[in-house]
Symmetry: C2
Subunit: 340 residues, 2 copies
């Protein structure tokens, strides 16, 4: 959807850039939060910050070309990256997905390269802001977005503000504790015991499935697939759940219930309008039988455990922007800071 060099009625477009460990995605986003052009290049973070800046520019140029606008049309640039970072300083610290970019003052570097005011935001927070601005949460005054994948990303938006925290560790709700007992699961990455991610991150789901398989020695569809050489992955669990395998359906249900426990803790802290689900670990996501079952089970668990007043008025849904949430949200953060 080229802009033909014109600005939209709501103001000039923004450039949103979402840096991942594998790819850098860029988008030209209009003032209404609609993507007008996409670009994507491999991150190649191992080449270091200098090359990284070139890759970011290449992604941006591709998006500008796709949108049919020039950099001069753009009001500001919004960056989203994985943490940990120092949001106030605009620097990356030691992101595990970007080891080649450690301690890089990325905001300043991008600002200098594009000569545009630039914001830096955590990628999970940016995705939440994107959904808030123009996605499934656009009618909400506050929302929580869960991005379920290898890790459990979270972003919380309260009345147009991102909960960033004093040390850039706000909205890190994948690391809230849902099981206080001494024998709770330990997260293999963080070493933290009993956290939501230890149970519902990809590795936690696989570990729980393995435990269930060890207990249940029957001949489930999952046993058969594994005996046939299949690897125990979230995708496999989802597939056999869709075939009606009870063991896999039990894992799906338990995952949704545990996510419900964590969600209720956030509801009783923030009391938002809306909770959204995104990411690969949503058991197929919207429009699939297993995805809908996952969402419905989560809704039920929230209703069962939360204060009625909180649960009654809460919208629990799938997110709406898909893979664009990060670039849209990054652009939205730039708009709020410089062009809102």
């Amino acid at each position: 959807m080229p802009l033909s060099g014109q600005t939209t009625p709501g103001g000039p477009p923004l450039l949103g850039i979402d840096v991942g460990g594998t790819n850098i995605k860029a988008a030209v986003v209009d003032a209404g939060g609609v993507v007008r052009g996409h670009g994507s290049v491999p991150t190649e973070q191992e080449l270091g910050p200098g090359a990284g800046l070139d890759r970011i520019e290449a992604a941006a140029n591709a998006a500008l070309e796709d949108a049919g606008v020039g950099l001069w049309d753009v009001a500001a640039v919004g960056l989203a990256t994985p943490g940990p970072m120092n949001l106030k300083a605009g620097t990356l610290l030691c992101p595990s997905n970007l080891p080649g970019w450690q301690n890089w003052a990325i905001r300043e570097a991008v600002e200098a390269r594009f000569s545009k005011p630039t914001t830096l935001q955590n990628d999970a927070n940016a995705a939440a802001y994107g959904e808030y601005w123009s996605g499934a949460g656009r009618d909400a005054d506050s929302l929580v977005l869960w991005t379920l994948g290898t890790g459990i990303g979270c972003g919380i938006i309260l009345r147009d503000a991102v909960i960033e925290g004093e040390h850039s560790h706000g909205s890190e709700c994948g690391h809230i504790i849902i099981d206080c007992r001494p024998d709770a699961r330990v997260h293999p990455g963080t070493g933290m015991r009993g956290t939501l991610e230890a149970y519902c991150g990809a590795r936690g789901v696989i570990a729980r499935a393995r435990d269930a398989l060890n207990v249940d020695r029957g001949q489930s569809a999952m046993h058969e697939r594994l005996a046939g050489g299949a690897k125990l992955t979230p995708k496999l669990i989802c597939e056999v759940a869709a075939e009606g395998d009870e063991l896999a359906l039990g894992i799906l249900t338990e995952t949704a219930q545990l996510l419900g426990v964590g969600t209720v803790s956030i509801l009783h802290t923030i009391d938002p309008d809306c909770v959204l689900l995104a990411g690969a670990m949503t058991f197929g996501g919207p429009g699939t039988t297993t995805g809908d079952l996952f969402l419905d089970t989560l809704r039920l668990e929230v209703k069962r455990r939360a204060f009625p007043t909180v649960a009654e008025h809460l919208d629990v849904s799938f997110a709406g922007l898909g893979a664009d949430a990060g670039v849209v949200g990054a652009a939205g953060c730039a708009r709020r800071a410089f062009a809102g």
Copy 2:
């Protein structure tokens, strides 16, 4: 400390009113957050809203007289009451401590009676705002206050804003879930399973102590005191802990650790500067051996479980305003709304 009819340099004083199930406390608070006069009368909520308004006025008049100022000197009135309430509408809903005041539009009634702009705030939130404004959190940009008693009150302040929630249920962190398992403790009041209050509210502490006594059939000091006719109360647990009784010390330690679990979940959601402890259930509180042990154990648990970046820069301390936190915070909320 009479004001002698003069306003302080920072602006006119405020009237803070903290309504409890037993007493209504009022205070004249200067623009710097210092109490200049106190008043207190029995709530007698069973007499209904009409009498309640008279009681509120009586408490206010006592505070005005104590401060040596007139109502005409006061810029605004801040009310704090127990929930549940509708903060936007300024009405009480069905507070269990104020059954005689159900569905009362208290903010409007007080505003009309005093002819002063009036705010309504949840009492736990008001106490947190008081500590933030002029108490132990006055140097913090954000804080969490735990008020430990029969229930576990919580208030969260983020950059001068109270987290009220969309349905007046923000900062209700006594009801976050710390134990997701099916056999977790059930809160005797709310019926909720695995919540922080189910473990660390007064009744939860007593229930855990009773369980420990049933398991440990030895002759602890606690066994002896109970055999001698003493009642199992938090006060008794605290007393025998101070005498070095291991069973009681175990309860103290476990309570602090479980509160630590809940605290870490909030830290990974909000990432504040400061966490404060107040209330009767702090095992003696500041200046006592058991109170200091309780605080130190909480600090240790937070350090053990939270992200290092979050825990490293966090101040975990006792609150500073004692029983004045509610009236000071209520006054502070009025100041922020009308005279800030």
